[in-house]
Subunit: 207 residues, 4 copies
DNA sequence: ATTTAAACGAGACGGTACGTCTGGTCTTGTA
DNA sequence: TACAAGACCAGACGTACCGTCTCGTTTAAAT
């Protein structure tokens, strides 16, 4: 569905020369479109965002948008997740701190104004378009890998329970954050929320 | 937003008599619409479902739909959640069993074909419409209350940790299930998935 | 290509009852669209006329236009030729006067501001769409018949040459007028033009 | 409007030397474009002809087209009328034969497959663009002059009626042919058509 | 041999109209 | 009053084409 994969794998070493022919795309237009999309998402939300409005605010035209992204969903997911943190920013050696950092990181990503505005609509589009689903998920591959890695290290140190499946852990962290965001439209998730959620994920609900 | 509350609480005793005048609604039409909506959701998904198509399959017209539901979202959420289990179906006294039952119940609700097809679109609409959000959430009030109740009982018995916030627990259970459903389009969530998720929520990730 | 033939043959006696069901079309909208089209043709010409602009001026929407006419060309031909004179307005018995009347009538039709603006574009569309061609020509069937009739009468009286083919006569009258209109953008065709053209058609160029 | 007049009057002696510097144009490209335009006109018509398609078939690019012709209409009129006969091919001294030759010449020009396909669209564009109108008409200046000349000679010999205006005669000949072509899409105009039309223009319709 | 200026292939760009689709409302005639 | 049917408003959709512009490359003539 991607109109042009070049923006994804610009420097994919498929050959010695990609031989770019014809007028090159204006990178300022790419940036202006993404910025306009992010602004409009925060201002009017996903449902009210139109390609024409994005084009107008970016100072370009619909044609230029569709040359780069094949649909509103493709554009939005790139504008909403320009960079997903692929590494956990805490020193290793303390698994409890790792989990808290993961929860906080998930909270930070999901409650940014742009993501809050984009994600519900994106979820709907992803459910209807497997290819889009795959592409969005690819953005989070780094996070998933980092969780998996920290969990393996903690297990080696004897810090983590052996029966904890990394995918289940990701689902629990990400799912709790996602649902909390959806249930509290407009309200932030404070550090106390992070603490409470972390407590359950670390010690469980049982005494 | 509800066009007519009568289909929800037909005999709400607000007064002595609502004085029904004119031709009464044909209840077969209500049923046909809901059935057509559920079928189409499973077949073509939320985004491709149109009110006109629902009307056609139900053998009626758009007018009849809008007389009963004020919007596509209102119709779909009623077709997708005809009945949400409001009580936990396990005998009390075993909090671990309670949690597993909750996870399994969430899994059962979220992975039914109709809910799978409807929920992503509903999430998008709910994010844009607080009133709809409120109405859908009301359907789950019973579940939330049940979780809260069981947790309180378990805490009284000393079975549950005192610092477990019931809202966080609901978010973790529902969120993990929701995200798992979204991440595995078309694939079921088996009993092993329930077991693994339950393990984390009961004992936590730490050794 | 006609979106709905009902506006053409509203009372075609195909059966005892057409049984009109559903909300009927608002005839004021038909009139407003045709009026807006004629106005815009005269103001900005065929090429610059857009369906959206017609809809806006008519106080309605594009949907309503396309429900009635399947394309810009279909709409314009109906707006440009609301009524083509189907009879010659001179007393019979003088074939020279008949021809002059025909030339003057052709001049009147072709040099009206709306027809002047519409015809060039219509000619282009007709060449690309045989069905449209047929429909436009049908509007002139009455004129053609009238010419044929007057010619036959004149021949019976011995006034007209026996070898004059009626189709050739129509082509000469209409063609000369059409070309004169095309060659003089914006300029009128006066009575002297009618006299000169009539002279050739009556007496020929030879002495 | 002409992008570059060089293709029309390459050696216009406006100055001592135009001093052609830089890479000269490839004349094979001029030819290929005109041939591709003529072919596509005959195949898909004026409305469906796009500059991109012409470029592709000619094995070149849009840039090369616009370097030579400033618009689709400019290109088409040059492809459709590569050469208009500027003189009448009959021996002088017989005005009736002159007229028949003019009618036949008009028929030959207007019914060639390329002109048939191009003219309706050109008429539309000419009506909207006076400059284009002027340029196309200039191609027919020779024909007009020839008619005028023959008419003057015939009048001097006493063969032609004195009140015949040459412009009216041109309009009658050209107009009748144009309209006949438009009214018979795809059908040829035979010699009998020429005879019948000539008869009216020579002797008139009156007995 | 080098410079220069324009032609060339390729394709992005702004602009604009197209005809379609959907959501949700309104207006008929009939039951 | 419900109902079937379908017209209505409003507005986004994605496509297509026009004519311009900007690259990097090639080709001749002038230096």
């Amino acid at each position: 569905m991607k109109a042009d994969p070049s923006s994804v794998d610009k420097t994919r070493g498929a050959g010695p020369k990609p031989a770019p022919v014809g007028r090159p795309r204006d990178p300022r237009i790419d940036a202006a479109i993404l910025r306009a999309t992010a602004e409009l998402l925060a201002e009017i939300g996903y449902a009210n965002l139109t390609m024409a409005a994005v084009a107008e605010r970016a100072g370009t035209t619909k044609t230029a948008l569709y040359r780069r992204w094949s649909s509103k969903a493709e554009l939005v997911h790139e504008a909403a997740f320009p960079a997903v943190p692929s590494a956990i920013q805490t020193p290793p050696g303390d698994f409890a701190a790792d989990i808290r950092a993961m929860v906080a990181a998930a909270r930070d990503v999901f409650t940014s104004p742009v993501v809050r505005a984009a994600l519900p609509g994106l979820i709907a589009d992803m459910a209807a378009d497997p290819e889009l689903n795959r592409r969005v998920m690819a953005r989070f591959a780094g996070v998933f890998g980092a969780v998996r890695e920290r969990l393996a290290e903690a297990r080696d140190r004897g810090e983590a329970r052996a029966d904890v499946d990394p995918d289940r852990l990701v689902e629990a962290i990400g799912g709790a954050t996602l649902l909390a965001m959806l249930l509290r439209p407009g309200e932030p998730l404070g550090d106390d929320w992070v603490d409470q959620t972390t407590a359950i994920l670390i010690h469980g609900a049982l005494a």
